[in-house]
């Protein structure tokens, strides 16, 4: 029945738009489209993705921070890696050795080209003795396949077959537990578990992009609608709401996570050298294991360590009182968009530009105006006060912004 619904949607889409195959519905589309009363969509990797189900994402944001939400993240790219040399292969293509990654573990990392410039970031999960899955924001199957030739591994692009749903928020575990046979309190941070939710076989990982307690569910696309219904039938008492990408974006800035294509560009897509970033440039140095058997980009990254980093990926807290004063000078109360921005703003110090803020948001939880951006290493120390551009009534100004630790918001229940 679920498959029928999906096929029907597809068929309807094809009838209506015979010459346009883009964007296409995700496996959850029959349900997300029903719930999306605002008709507020965007395109994500060629799929229809909800920005917010209401005219404004606020309700979804608050549900994420104090109850639970379900976010359709099916457009993520997923490649399965199987074979005796799967761990060796992934340790070669990514910046981290995966030979010691235990069964049922998940890790976050990035991968680089030969020059040590980042191509993408994502997670690797170990699903079996010789079975791993790598997720990413950009398609990377053929790039992986090219490097796989000298390893005894099989690659399979499962992006279209596997639906994924992020269930995030402080009540997410209780909600999932109410429909799950296994004990989810056993599932630690960055662990995975194969289990049943209702009648469905499902892989659960304790991962997410919100900085809150949360899980991601992975299962065959044909079961997506049934999973959705199972969760929403049980979800009322736990405050479950569907949430779109706008709410997700607010939370990911609060959590200080970077986003490919916004906070940095994949080296593969860059037209000029200076657009590329090393893992250190974008704050991912903690993912890199340098001293080990050869891997892609190793020589360049070793050389960078000798030189010292050029950039810091900094969290910035923008001074509220200064901003308020600028509004006051225009006779206005302060007002900022409630959605996260990603336009990019110059950052200054000593009278010159020393960096760029690439995304930011006014955090409703912290009551702070936040930004993330790349700052010249010499200016990126914690506590350093820089200046950021602020536009009020179409006039440009500069206000103070203090370099701060990420995550900005890090509730204890995230790891509990």
């Amino acid at each position: 029945m679920a498959a029928g619904t999906l096929a029907e949607t597809w068929a309807r889409g094809a009838r209506l738009l015979p010459f346009r195959a883009m964007p296409i519905p995700t496996p959850f589309h029959p349900r997300t489209s029903e719930a999306c009363s605002s008709l507020f969509w965007k395109e994500w990797a060629g799929y229809h993705a909800v920005r917010s189900y209401d005219t404004c994402h606020e309700r979804e944001y608050y549900a994420l921070r104090h109850a639970a939400v379900a976010i359709d993240v099916s457009p993520l790219f997923k490649v399965d890696v199987r074979g005796p040399q799967a761990a060796d292969f992934l340790s070669f293509v990514t910046v981290r050795s995966l030979r010691k990654l235990g069964l049922g573990r998940v890790t976050y990392l990035c991968w680089c080209d030969d020059d040590g410039k980042v191509l993408d970031d994502g997670t690797v999960m170990r699903l079996g003795e010789q079975h791993y899955r790598i997720t990413s924001a950009d398609p990377g199957y053929f790039w992986l396949a090219r490097h796989a030739r000298r390893f005894d591994v099989e690659l399979e692009d499962v992006s279209g077959q596997i639906a994924s749903l992020a269930v995030q928020g402080p009540t997410s575990r209780d909600l999932l537990q109410s429909v799950c046979a296994d004990d989810l309190s056993e599932l630690g941070f960055f662990r995975s578990m194969q289990t049943r939710l209702g009648n469905l076989e499902c892989l659960i990982t304790r991962t997410g992009y919100t900085g809150d307690l949360g899980f991601e569910l992975w299962l065959p696309a044909t079961s997506a609608v049934e999973l959705w219904d199972t969760l929403f039938r049980a979800g009322g008492p736990f405050g479950l709401l569907p949430a779109g990408l706008d709410a997700l974006d607010v939370s990911r800035v609060e959590a200080g996570f970077i986003l490919l294509g916004i906070d940095y560009m994949s080296a593969r897509r860059c037209l000029a050298e200076h657009q590329k970033s090393t893992p250190t440039d974008i704050g991912l140095e903690r993912c890199v294991q340098l001293e080990r058997e050869p891997f892609l980009g190793q020589a360049a990254l070793l050389a960078e360590r000798e030189r010292g980093p050029a950039w810091n990926m900094a969290g910035l807290v923008i001074d509220w009182e200064q901003l308020e004063t600028l509004f006051e000078a225009e006779g206005l109360p302060p007002s900022l968009p409630t959605a996260a921005w990603r336009g990019g703003l110059p950052v200054y110090a000593d009278g010159r530009q020393v960096g760029r803020a690439t995304s930011g948001v006014f955090s409703p939880t912290l009551k702070q105006n936040l930004a993330i951006g790349q700052i010249e290493a010499a200016y990126g120390q914690l506590g350093r006060v820089l200046e950021i551009e602020a536009t009020v009534e179409h006039k440009r100004h500069r206000v103070a912004a203090t370099v701060t630790n990420r995550p900005f918001y890090d509730p204890p229940h995230k790891r509990s």
């Binding site: 404004c56 549900a63 109850a67 008492p237 109360p333 939880t365 009551k367």
Partner: protein, 529 residues
């Protein structure tokens, strides 16, 4: 050991705690003494009935200063708010009005009652928002001293005067009307529909012993718009975990800076020697000394309860005697077996995610006041209800709900004297349930537990003199440089080394934290400790 405190704060209400946190953050050694077993005072969460967390007194938050949230890193200590989505007014005739955060949706709703009102509604909001923005610096700064010749004071006063002058004429006129008119008359100038005016007018009377047709009540309407303009971008919200979670977050922040906080430590009196506060005596007889004492309780309890008239100048005693407390409200908290079903909108929809006003008409509200004037509680009171469990699953078991009802009028000075509330408590509770039953027909069948608080209980249990929820009415003659008494609006008192930091000082009551923060800043600025 017991005499090396820089400050002892009497009362662990949210203002006492804010004051403690700021002082501790500035390196001072602070001790907070709270009478009850829980912190928070009127901002408190308690599991009165197993599995259900009641916000026992205050239930929604708007005015808590964002600067306090930032300075004390309250989010890190667990503070979180969730905006109310709407204001829902069910009517006994089976209809209802719901005002949403979405302007267009609200316009369509109001238009069912009056097309004209629907169009004017956003204009009203804009005008009030502008006036609130004008008033905002007033609540973020200590009250100006009009009699002072200190140039700093004069400048701040001039700035205020200047701001008033800067207002366009129409707004200045509006401001004057607000200061003098009744809430009902003021709204009459804008709107024609009673269904709209009644629930709007009540924000002018909350916590006062006045009716919607009493002059001066229009001014308090403005407070409603204050929260919207300072980086919160939303007026009212729930605190996750109830309003006590706010107090706990502040306490946690204070402790992280080294403050010591004791519960079940009732203060008997403030030690005054040679016109100077030296410490406190606890009810168990323990004497604790400190360089300064700060009262987080209301002015009457502070001066007549803890200090004693003999230590105070006569003028001041007279001012505090005249200070109007006159509690007029009660609270009924209910644990429900399922979500309440309103006859007008039975589904457990988004209309339950905001506040619910039982205020069907202006006459209904005025009749409720009439009874109170003559010493009775209203048989059909104004009720402001919320179902926090709709948006915050942490306060009730899955599928169950909390219905929190703020009830007005319940006069402290009831016929037979305030003690006679002991005998009238359950009758008052029944009245509230009867009133609810007019719009939630089966309410009686789903009640699992009820807690009834009369103004007498608010005084006896929470230390609120005469049960006044704001430590004194928020009427213009008791605000700014007149709060609590002329000449004593800067947190100082006639007793040397005794300070005040709670809702009975500028800028007043509500979960705002501003008195606590401003008092601490004033003490640090004047090197009081």
């Amino acid at each position: 050991m017991s005499n090396n405190w820089d400050a002892i704060i009497v009362g662990g209400g949210h203002n006492g705690l804010v004051c403690a946190a700021y002082l501790a953050k500035a390196g001072r050694r602070v001790l907070v003494l709270e009478r009850r077993h829980v912190l928070g005072g009127a901002a408190v969460s308690e599991e009165v009935f197993p599995g259900f967390t009641y916000s026992v007194c205050s239930y929604v938050v708007s005015l808590l200063r964002p600067s306090i949230v930032r300075d004390l890193e309250l989010a890190k200590h667990g503070y979180q708010t969730i905006p109310l989505e709407c204001s829902f007014s069910p009517l006994p005739d089976g209809d209802s009005l719901c005002r949403w955060s979405d302007g267009d949706r609200t316009r369509r709703e109001i238009a069912r009652f009056s097309k004209r009102d629907a169009e004017l509604y956003p204009e009203y909001g804009k005008a009030m928002g502008q006036l609130a923005a004008f008033a905002k610096p007033v609540i973020d700064a200590p009250a100006p001293k009009p009699e002072s010749l200190d140039p700093r004071e004069l400048i701040s006063l001039l700035r205020l005067g200047g701001r008033l002058r800067d207002l366009p004429t129409d707004l200045r006129e509006l401001e004057l009307k607000l200061m003098t008119m009744s809430a009902a008359d003021f709204l009459d100038e804008w709107f024609e529909s009673d269904v709209l005016k009644a629930p709007m007018s009540v924000s002018g009377i909350i916590g006062t012993f006045l009716g919607v047709r009493s002059p001066g009540t229009a001014y308090v309407l403005l407070h409603h718009y204050m929260g919207e303009i300072d980086g919160a971008f939303r007026s009212w919200g729930f605190a996750k975990g109830g309003t006590g979670a706010i107090s706990n977050a502040i306490a946690s922040s204070a402790r992280s800076h080294g403050a010591e906080i004791r519960t079940e430590a009732p203060v008997h009196k403030i030690l005054v020697e040679g016109g100077e506060a030296k410490g406190v005596v606890l009810q168990n007889g323990d004497e604790l000394r400190a360089r300064t004492v700060i009262s987080g309780c209301d002015p009457r309890l502070t001066f007549f309860g803890f200090v004693g008239r003999e230590h105070l100048p006569t003028d001041f005693v007279r001012d505090i005697e005249r200070y109007k407390l006159r509690g007029s409200s009660g609270k009924v908290n209910l644990a429900l077996d399922r979500a309440p079903q309103f006859a007008s909108r039975p589904e457990p929809g988004p209309h339950l995610r905001g506040d619910i006003a039982i205020a069907p008409s202006v006459d209904y509200l005025e009749r409720a006041y009439e009874q109170a004037k003559y010493g009775e509680f209203s048989t059909r009171p104004y009720i402001n209800a919320v179902v926090p469990s709709m948006v915050d699953p942490s306060v009730a078991p899955p599928g169950k709900h909390v219905l929190s009802c703020f009830v007005q009028y319940a006069p402290y000075h009831i016929e037979g004297g305030p003690e006679s509330w002991e005998q009238k408590r359950e009758a008052f509770g029944d009245t509230v349930i009867d009133t609810l039953a007019e719009t939630i027909p089966d309410i009686r069948e789903i009640i699992l537990h009820r807690q009834v608080l009369t103004p007498w209980d608010l005084e006896q249990e929470f230390g609120l003199s005469e049960g006044n929820i704001f430590h004194g009415e928020l009427s213009p003659e008791q605000l700014a440089f007149l709060r609590p008494a002329s000449g004593w609006a800067r947190y100082k008192t006639p007793v040397r080394k005794l300070w005040m930091c709670a809702s009975g000082t500028h800028p007043g009551g509500g979960i705002m934290g501003a008195p606590g923060a401003l008092a601490a800043k004033e003490m640090l600025r004047s090197r009081a400790l």
